[in-house]
Symmetry: C2
Subunit: 450 residues, 2 copies
Amino acid sequence: MVLMEYVVIGHGTAGQTAAAVLKKVDPESQVTVIEKGRHVAIHPCSLPMVLSGRLSLAEVEERVPRGKVDLISGSEAKRIDRERKVVYFIKDGSLESIGYDRVILATGLRPIVPRVEGIDLEGVGTVWDLESVSDLLRQLGNKVVVVGGSATGIEVASELARTGREVTLIEATEQLMPGKVDPPISSLVMKALNDLGVKVMLKTPMERLEGSGGKLTHVVTPKGAIEADTAVVVIGARPDVSVALESGLRIGETGGVKVDEYMFTSDPYVLAAGDVAEVRDFVTGMPTLTGLASTALVQGRIAAENAAGGRVKYPGALSPFLVPVGDRFFGGVGLSASRAEALSIDYLAFRFSGADLPRYMGGRDNVVIWMVTDREGRVLGAQVFGRRGVRERILFLTAAIYANFKVQDIRIMEFAYQPEVCDVVEPIATAAEGMYRKYLSPRGDLSEIS
Amino acid sequence: MVLMEYVVIGHGTAGQTAAAVLKKVDPESQVTVIEKGRHVAIHPCSLPMVLSGRLSLAEVEERVPRGKVDLISGSEAKRIDRERKVVYFIKDGSLESIGYDRVILATGLRPIVPRVEGIDLEGVGTVWDLESVSDLLRQLGNKVVVVGGSATGIEVASELARTGREVTLIEATEQLMPGKVDPPISSLVMKALNDLGVKVMLKTPMERLEGSGGKLTHVVTPKGAIEADTAVVVIGARPDVSVALESGLRIGETGGVKVDEYMFTSDPYVLAAGDVAEVRDFVTGMPTLTGLASTALVQGRIAAENAAGGRVKYPGALSPFLVPVGDRFFGGVGLSASRAEALSIDYLAFRFSGADLPRYMGGRDNVVIWMVTDREGRVLGAQVFGRRGVRERILFLTAAIYANFKVQDIRIMEFAYQPEVCDVVEPIATAAEGMYRKYLSPRGDLSEIS
């Protein structure tokens, strides 16, 4: 039996998963992970909670299982010599190399740092990794501007508002999370942020940062200068394709490393997984970048199995996500209406608001369901906003899209009921029924629908 | 346009839903509901909480929407004269009748009252409706024996233990909820009851009830007499088919009213829905009774649409259920392993326990997933036990069964992640992965699985 040598580049969710799966499916193999950071693994989704002090930096460092995988941390991979099958990396200042049979490239994203005046002022930082959060914590004042209405921007604003700080969130476009969530949901998110005391300014790009004595004093926008001692700049990230470019791997139209449906790059011995990989969208079939740990995990698993000789197809990214905002949550999965619009995909959409608990239980609240279907009622996407049960609805709707359910199926499906956690009438079913009645069942026409 | 006249018999979940849907799909029609009880609608699932005082009797009475449906309460339907198309019912002691074009029979269940000595003693009661709970509340002492390890028995025992009462639960068979949940879950439920202070005695049928001065003193079992001032007898229920029998409708092998897949009884003008109807099980295709509000709701909707001229197929009962036990929940959907065993259906089963929150979040606990599949990995049933997220997993697994997912699909699916509500590794996916590795993927065989 030939001993296989696998090299995984990057120890984020995709890399960690890939390494673990490789050892599981090919236990005799040699698995080496090369990771740039000193902190070998963290949970990026926990970072906003570190910023507000709900979690400590130490708490969110991942314990790395010992003994199975050879982890080389603090080492930056530079290039894959695909002819000689060697990965070059920098460790302690010197160039080293390691041979491979298969490489899994999981270099993830790097944050976009806008080239505006004042970006280097004290008080300006980002939320990206332990280092950046640690830096930001040292500089954190009481008048904070969060730049960017992304999921991270919303979480950071929400967390900092908890601590009593004066928080303003500015977003360049006309809504929060454009393309990801549609106006019926983003307006609820905006209201939830307002309820937490966050001032939200839309159509307000950051022009530059002003300071005095090297310290931030104002964030300047077309609508005027906002007084601030802290600016948290979270305007996005792009795939970290430096190794891929150095190695001559094909880059896709989104800027990620192009992979086929088995997660192979343009080189049959190199796979890519996670945020760096350009995959297909499950619904549209179009190239996309995912940027979600839960999605990276699946890709890491599939890349590892296929690196080890399997032939597991990646079904395409559904990209379900969840974001907390105060004591509410919202989330989405699949195609948004605004994205459908942009792609000229014909769609139907429907908003429904229903109770999350029976009338007689305390703490009852509304949950809002927004569903996007095709003209036949097939679910293409959905978004949910509410106080409880948001994940359960996103989970169900993820399955619904994967399974090609129509609203005609959902309106006659059974939803587990118990008054302490939900009402007997499930808002998803009512939304599906509403869509069916409004768009798909001309009055009086009750012909075969199942 | 001919004005249709619909009569719905019974105002439980199926009847209420049917009446509401009839008015929606056929707004000009006359819809009359005949209901035996004076309290026109209640939520049976809330009754254990009434017993413990968390809810009042008044709180769990349903407000009935006015004006659309003609509700005749306190009136017992006796017979459908199918030739003359008239329903006879008793109102205020006299026999009345109402004509119909279509009837929907939704008479539900009636509780089984065991014919044992002492059943009429003071201190002996049941949890069935507002009347029985009201009676029981007046007699409730401090040493309670709950007779029957059904979902209701478990909820009643759990609720009464909250109030500091001394509670013993006796169950005739060798486990709680036999056939509904499998031993890996029922043993966790038993432990949870023990943690609440409930003494659980299995293989312990009630033989008789002993009293003194007309009041209960002991519940007698083969294992001895248990001292008690209160016995709550919840040993089950059977379909209330008296109207169906009087009307000559066909009864199925389970004792429920036989319906076809469009919810029609043996009479083309009479449909049945909810607990009284014998429907097909989604997984096995065999006749079954459901006894769940969430399932009755779907049947009520379909019966109403088809009564109004539609042709919607009932896909079969998946019967997802949820039961609270202290601050835990458990639930199930589809086929149990024990039922598969009893029916000689070949199956695989796998138990997995995983974290419900990331390591760094407070209050982390385990969630236990039990999955039952066929030999190819197709999900036939599942059960879940945990502190949080039980409903979300049952919802997902309901969709999985409906969609014919295999564990091969689930192990590569994306599960929405956010550290405040779940870990990035979803226990359902890990359970699916475990089943795949254990049963479906001979080591080294990683051939096409999608």
